[in-house]
Symmetry: C2
Subunit: 349 residues, 2 copies
DNA sequence: CACCACGGGACAGAATCCTAG
DNA sequence: CCTAGGATTCTGTCCCGTGGT
């Protein structure tokens, strides 16, 4: 009704200047924090801004060289809860600094990774956070090498890059240690394949601990899977219908866990009586199940916040942090999905 | 190592032009899809672009060109799975059209809603999608009234605005009808408070069906809660420790459901023997529980895709759609969390 | 003379710096 | 010396004009 075709009715700084009867430069000065503007004029300008509902154009500010006040965040899959929580923490930390964030999904597809990085460049982001998992292909490496703005990675392995990582190795060692103490000897592991840093850490830790305990047999009980429900189901089927099935399984959370549970339910396996289960990654699913699952947990908010801290340290010029690695702790939350198998091994008091 | 202080070494269209030995206008023409450029020149330009790794600045394009190729998406809480899935669908549909998206969280806080809308304006978004829930306060209304770009809402009630909504009323009617058919008479409902559109629809449907069935008593078994785990726990406590507790409860999914389940487990209540439970919103939690929960489900991707369709119809000039309301279906997924109470009422074969 | 490909310049909005009052 | 005006800058797009056929 108001106007048939609204021709980009943007209110610009000039409209404000005209309304307030001053020059555009003066309005700009008021906006940036009135250093050298007479109070009366500043007040007139502010009144005009409020009345016209003027909102400065980020495009223009960015173009002029203020920086875009934006950071990019590239994630394999935001609908995955594990990543979603990290991204959420990053988002909050970024917003707290008055910056905006654009989040991009790659779905683990190289081509989309490349395009995501290019999108970040198109936006003139002031910094980039790369979240999660997989090893970089040459094309991605090449792009990351000449970004022109700071890069921080979360749970990734790129060399010479500021990194915040979760101590997945320690988490897995705690889980296995706990299961061993409970008398389990045949222990399975379901984790993504080795192109993911986290998974490699877990597998290395698993191997070390198994060798140390003389339980090398367990190395045959590792299942590397895609991150989806059916893969979890298949892995569970594969492990638990074997001749000598494990008495305990440590599995990635989220959809993979959901698949494992589907198999467990279908077979009428009762937790923890027939099988002990430890989840990697803690959330409302692990907490809400009956029995609630013992899980390897880490602080998503700390992870995101640390990454943003590191990124802004670099944006704000402290180059010294380049290449620094921050490690976030990982610990076991004991719940009720693990059975004590061998009283003599576990009983101490 | 490469350069002590990198002074925004952005490659611009002019560098490309120089390298290719052409004018900037020609480069621009090649970029926009070679209309009237000689093939040989176009090839030279493309080579220069590739070699210099030129990526056009979105800020500049946005400023001079038609639009920012960006749409905004405002959500109460992305870490909530229900919203996360909608946002994900929106994200994909937007990307499929070559647009970028910026997602903003409000946490249901008015001030953050206002700032989110202003952020969208700063970005010069070409359209805005408002997701979820609560009624608008006057300040928000005022801003939305004079946006200057198309607005589509999902599951919101603003008048005269293109809307895509889920038929929560139908979903609830199906759930209650199913429970009634299974012989349940005392049925509880746990849902957010009435300032959310979805919740009001549910409560209205609940009231209608209860009156129609002469089960007005159930109106006292409605619990309006905050959307978090403790609120779910408290509501369950309140309902199930009463003198005449319901035999069935329909509850919002996600964190609220997790709280309800926590109470259920603590009390040793067995599903569905001691209590029948229907979840609103279906995801891997409802599917993975033992027993898997009967749930009210709707198609998140269709919801997001419809909203984006409607938005682009408006962006691309078809104003006729303004104010149109699209409804997404909502249906009950039968699983194993509902017990048949009364064989005479339920048995038919 | 008309037509087409390309060059060149103005312009979008905000910030900064120089100058004038 | 202090304040405010105004020109200039950033990058990509659009339009007009020119030169060649």
């Amino acid at each position: 009704m108001s106007s048939p075709t609204r021709p980009r009715a943007r209110v610009t700084i000039r409209h404000v200047a005209e309304k307030a009867g001053v020059a555009v430069g003066t309005v700009s000065r008021v906006l940036k924090g009135a250093d050298t503007v007479a109070p009366a004029i500043a007040e007139r300008v502010r009144a005009a801004i409020a009345e016209l509902r003027y909102v400065p154009s980020l495009a223009a500010q960015s173009l002029r060289g203020q920086g875009s006040r934006t950071i990019g965040c590239i994630v394999p899959d935001v609908s995955n809860r594990l990543y979603a929580q990290v991204v959420d923490a990053v988002k909050d930390a970024v917003r707290a600094r008055g910056y905006s964030i654009i989040v991009m999904n790659t779905g683990h597809v190289v081509d989309r990774e490349v395009r995501s990085i290019e999108t970040a460049m198109r936006w003139d982001v002031e910094g980039l956070i790369l979240v999660g998992g997989f090893e970089d292909r040459p094309e991605v490496e090449a792009l990351l090498g000449r970004l022109g703005f700071p890069l921080v990675q979360i749970d990734r392995a790129r060399a010479d890059t500021t990194t915040v990582r979760v101590d997945h190795g320690k988490g897995l060692r705690e889980a296995i240690g706990y299961l061993l103490a409970a008398g389990h000897r045949r222990i399975g592991l379901v984790t993504p394949d080795g192109s993911s840093l986290q998974s490699r850490e877990r597998m290395r830790a698993f191997e070390e601990i198994c060798r140390a305990e003389g339980a090398e047999d367990n190395l045959a009980l590792v299942r590397c899977v895609e991150v989806n429900e059916n893969a979890g189901y298949d892995a569970a089927y594969d492990l638990l219908t074997a001749e000598a099935p494990p008495t305990a399984v440590v599995t990635l959370g989220g959809d993979v866990l959901a698949g494992v549970l589907r198999f467990v339910r279908m077979r009428g396996i009762e937790l923890p009586r027939d099988l002990s289960l430890v989840a990697i990654g803690d959330n409302e699913l692990t907490r809400s199940l009956d029995p609630p699952l013992t899980a390897v947990s880490w602080n998503f908010r700390a992870l995101g916040a640390s990454a943003v801290d590191a990124l802004f340290a670099r944006i704000l010029g402290r180059e010294s942090d380049e290449g620094r690695i921050t490690t976030i702790d990982c610990r076991l939350i004991e719940r009720e999905s693990v059975r004590r198998l061998d009283p003599s091994a576990a009983g101490d008091g």
